[in-house]
């Protein structure tokens, strides 16, 4: 039986300078836990009147404290149940944030009480007694769109070392490729900086969407080659996050790469087809607005699972992972899903429906590494935690490096869940 004796929220700042809330809890037995709320760019819209999200979360947490301090529970799921009931009146997005924060802080404290690492605690909570493998990191090489201040509109171009194992070697590949890319920029006298998610941000040359995107992808391929990872082919694949929902104008046209060049839905689909045919693309995230199900369905048919489609927007709950949707993978952001029990449910529902779950960070992160523990505990096939710059990103790779010491070094990183996908 666990009893909380202390719970205190604090306003801290994310990696993108925005105020957010951190919660510290302690148990009677002496364990302490701390979690913080990451923020995405969509979150500021969740205002209630004029109050920013961190104020709302802070207020909600403060009103929950009496409930928390009286809470006695035997299992984490019982605690999550209690939190779920206590937060019933809150608006959806806010409720998920509050539930996540409380559940995550409490999980840390409980694992400390038990004297076991957080990932082990989470694995036990999910009913896994053995590790099945560590996730493949999806490492952001180039940042654009909302997470950069450049005109390049694609949110993220990622390298995915599917053919490099064990985990520390996959991380090394990401680091060496990033380093090679910086050397290319320097050699070419190209100005660059770091975007919000720890990848490089710069501008790319070309006329029109296709040329600019190809220029960026060619540069990425060149970096992979110069870092020595192009042979044998397929060791490193590419994933692209278009965040297309944010690129759509009122007439339904998309400015995927450049504000000045808008594309019709058909042109967008042709572009994706073109890219997938020419580059080792493992996955396209939000290639078309999720609201445009017809277009997504057509793209899904055209790609024939040679490249996976990942859906991110509209997937805040278990109801988003119904069978038969026109995508292959779903992005799980624990802070948007609610308690950790809710995240576990989301992941198992996704897997049951045949989708590949991807653990994902947000654009505004902290040094909190729960995401890494969660991805390892559930043996998720992929984790997106940004690039190779900024400790809110590298800290998450570091936590997985620590966890990897507990694994058999020869165990393959990638699970069987991607079998049947031609590219892997």
């Amino acid at each position: 039986m666990t009893l909380l004796s202390f719970a205190k929220p604090l306003i801290i700042y994310t990696s993108t300078s925005r105020p957010t809330v951190e919660l510290t809890v302690k148990t009677v037995a002496g364990g302490s836990g701390r979690a913080s709320l990451p923020l995405g760019y969509d979150d500021p819209s969740r205002h209630n009147g004029k109050q920013p999200i961190h104020q709302l979360v802070l207020k909600a947490i403060e009103s929950l404290i009496p409930v928390l301090l009286g809470a006695k529970f035997a299992h984490h799921s019982a605690f999550d149940q209690l939190i779920t009931e206590a937060t019933e009146g809150l608006e959806d997005g806010l409720r998920a944030n509050v539930q996540y924060l409380v559940s995550a802080a409490c999980a840390q404290a409980c694992s400390a009480d038990l004297g076991i690492p957080l990932h082990k605690y989470l694995a036990e909570m999910a009913g896994f007694d053995a590790y099945r493998g560590l996730p493949v990191p999806m490492i952001t090489l180039i940042c654009g769109g909302k997470v950069a201040t450049t005109p390049f509109g694609v949110q993220a171009i990622m390298v995915v070392p599917t053919g490099v194992s064990p985990f520390p070697e996959a991380v090394r590949a990401g680091s060496e490729i990033s380093h090679a890319l910086a050397q290319i920029f320097k050699r070419e006298g190209k100005a660059y900086a770091i975007g919000d998610e720890g990848g490089f941000s710069t501008s790319f040359d070309g006329n029109g969407t296709r040329e600019v995107l190809c220029c960026a992808l060619n540069t990425a391929i060149q970096a992979i080659d110069e870092a020595g990872y192009s042979k044998p082919a397929g060791r490193i694949q590419i994933a692209i996050d278009f965040a297309a929902e944010h690129c759509k104008d009122a007439d339904g046209r998309y400015s995927l790469v450049n504000q000045k060049d808008t594309l019709s839905v058909q042109e967008v689909l042709d572009l994706h087809q073109f890219i997938v045919d020419r580059y080792p693309v493992l996955l396209l995230e939000d290639p078309v607005a999720t609201s445009n199900l017809d277009a997504l369905g057509e793209l899904h048919k055209r790609l024939e699972r040679k490249s996976l489609i990942a859906a991110d927007d509209l997937l805040d709950s278990v109801s988003g992972v119904a069978v038969g949707e026109p995508w292959d993978a779903v992005v799980a952001m624990p802070d948007r899903l609610g308690t950790l029990s809710d995240t576990l449910q989301f992941v198992s529902a996704a897997q049951a429906a045949g989708y590949v779950p991807i653990a994902s960070h947000r654009s505004g992160e902290t040094k909190d590494v729960l995401l890494s523990d969660l991805a390892a505990a559930l043996s998720l096939p992929f984790i997106k935690a940004g690039g190779m710059s900024g400790s809110e990103r590298t800290g998450k790779w570091n936590e997985l490096l620590r966890i990897s010491e507990l694994y058999d070094a020869n165990r393959p990183v990638l699970q069987g869940c991607l079998e049947g996908n031609g590219k892997v």
Binding site: L10, Y13, A148, T149, T150, S175, I194, S391, T394
Partner: protein, 468 residues
């Protein structure tokens, strides 16, 4: 006592905030307490710093790996020499490490300053953990005597690097850092609120109009540099000094556009880190080498000084770090003589957190403050000793990060423990920087009203060494 005995030490190769390998060490005690610390790495390094070790194996991390040397040393030789020792006896532990290394001039080149520092700091974390106290309390209680009239805990005024140049960014700015100091804030929390407002306002401007922040001239920013500040691209064709003046003008305007005042008595002041050693060649300060047009200017030390005097008269500059090069003693003396009363003059490359260099500087009238970078000297004890020398001689000791940082927040605790009064740990972006500020917010919450905060410490007369 037995429970403070070191039972196990474990090293690990991890990534720093720039995606390069660095060392992490964990120290475990017999009583169950443990500590973890990670070491940073600098981009602009003084030539007299303690030396970090790298594998040099080109097949891993372009030769920058630490697995086969640094980690090997931590898990082997270092662990063996410290097993069974009392973690509370930091001075003895650090002496053991220095003796074990045995390299000439305490450069720590044999075992690597990175392996030694990781273990030195992790041991302090472990001892604090075993005592069930916070690290800053442990350092204050057991490792550092503040003079009795300052027995409160001071929360430091943040010095936040908003524009990156020099070795930290890929642009035409010769000065390495343009720093905002929220010196009008009444509390540490308020300083953070203001910094966040200015950062977010600045970012919106770079995003929205990406080209026209100042009315008549255009410039842009592609994002942030290693230390979380913006890496701005100034318009081409400007001379090097005009480029620097231009950067200061933008800095002033963006603060005002975020509805804050920037003045000696306003919300924000400015601190500069020219890192002048980086552009000092054959007796001249060479500006403009980073510009593509080749508008290079060669300034004698006294011309460089005149430029600083002009900037200090035009902008609310309250502090200048490494205004002269590490090997330009005459330039430093001149700078201290002329600006030492108006400005905090901070020695970094010239002192490299080294007690002997600091003592020599104090007797030669060089600078009036010192930057403390724990990894420049290599052990916690030695770093604290340097702070002591500085404070006893009325030099300010400003605790500082490095450009290659990690999520480790030890320096926040050190700043509070020694009443440094100022901390320099980057802009309020990237968790490698923000985590240090967040740690201070947590300490502020814990201390409550008992903590002391003086935003304007850099421009207080007391403690500022009067130039002769």
């Amino acid at each position: 006592m037995e429970k403070f005995e070191i039972k196990k030490i474990k090293g690990r190769e991890i990534l720093d905030s720039r995606g390069r390998p660095t060392a992490e060490a964990e120290v475990f005690l017999a009583g169950g307490g443990w500590g973890r610390a990670q070491v940073p790495s600098g981009a602009s390094t003084g030539s007299r710093e303690a030396l970090e070790l790298r594998d040099g194996d080109p097949s891993r991390y372009w030769g920058r790996g630490v697995r086969d040397t640094v980690i090997w040393n931590i898990n082997g030789e270092i662990q063996r020499s410290l097993l069974g020792k009392d973690a509370r006896n930091q001075r003895a532990l650090d002496k053991t490490l220095i003796d074990l290394d045995g390299s000439e001039g305490k450069s720590k080149s044999r075992l690597g300053a990175n392996s030694i520092l990781a273990v030195s700091l992790a041991a302090a974390h472990a001892a604090a953990n075993e005592m069930r106290v916070e690290l800053y309390q442990y350092i204050r209680q057991c490792l550092y005597d503040v003079s009795s009239d300052h027995d409160k805990f001071w929360l430091p005024t943040p010095m936040m690097n908003f524009f990156n140049g020099g070795a930290h960014a890929d642009n035409a700015l010769d000065f390495q850092e343009f720093i905002l100091v929220p010196h009008g804030a009444k509390s540490f929390e308020q300083a953070m609120e203001w910094a966040s407002e200015v950062y977010l306002s600045m970012r919106r401007r770079f995003k929205a109009s990406s080209l026209r922040v100042v009315d008549d001239v255009s410039f842009k920013s592609f994002g942030v540099g290693d230390e979380g500040g913006f890496s701005i691209q100034t318009p081409p064709g400007m001379g090097p000094r005009d480029t620097l003046r231009f950067a200061l003008r933008i800095l002033t305007e963006v603060v005002e556009k975020a509805n804050h005042s920037i003045a000696r008595d306003g919300d924000f002041g400015i601190a500069l880190d020219p890192a002048a050693s980086e552009f000092f060649v054959d007796g001249y300060y060479v500006l403009g080498k980073r510009q593509k047009e080749g508008n290079t200017e060669y300034l004698q030390p006294k011309e460089m000084l005149a430029f600083y005097e002009e900037l200090v008269d035009t902008y609310p500059i309250i502090s200048i770090e490494d205004g002269m090069a590490e090997n330009d003693e005459e330039g430093w003396k001149l700078l201290t003589e002329r600006l030492g009363r108006k400005c905090q003059l901070v020695g970094d490359d010239v002192f490299v957190t080294n007690p002997d260099l600091l003592k020599a500087g104090i007797s030669n009238g060089i600078a009036n403050s010192i930057l403390i970078k724990v990894n420049q000297i290599g052990t916690l004890t030695e770093a604290l000793d340097v702070v002591k020398i500085a404070q006893e001689n009325e030099y300010r000791a400003i605790v500082s990060h490095r450009s290659g940082e990690t999520e480790d927040t030890t320096i926040s605790d050190i700043a509070v423990a020694v009443n440094a009064g100022q901390i320099k740990t980057g802009c309020l972006s990237r968790a490698d920087r923000v985590a240090k500020y967040n740690r201070l917010l947590r300490i502020a919450q814990e201390l409550g009203p008992s903590a002391y905060f003086d935003g304007r410490i850099a421009t207080r007369d007391t403690g500022l060494r009067q130039a002769a």
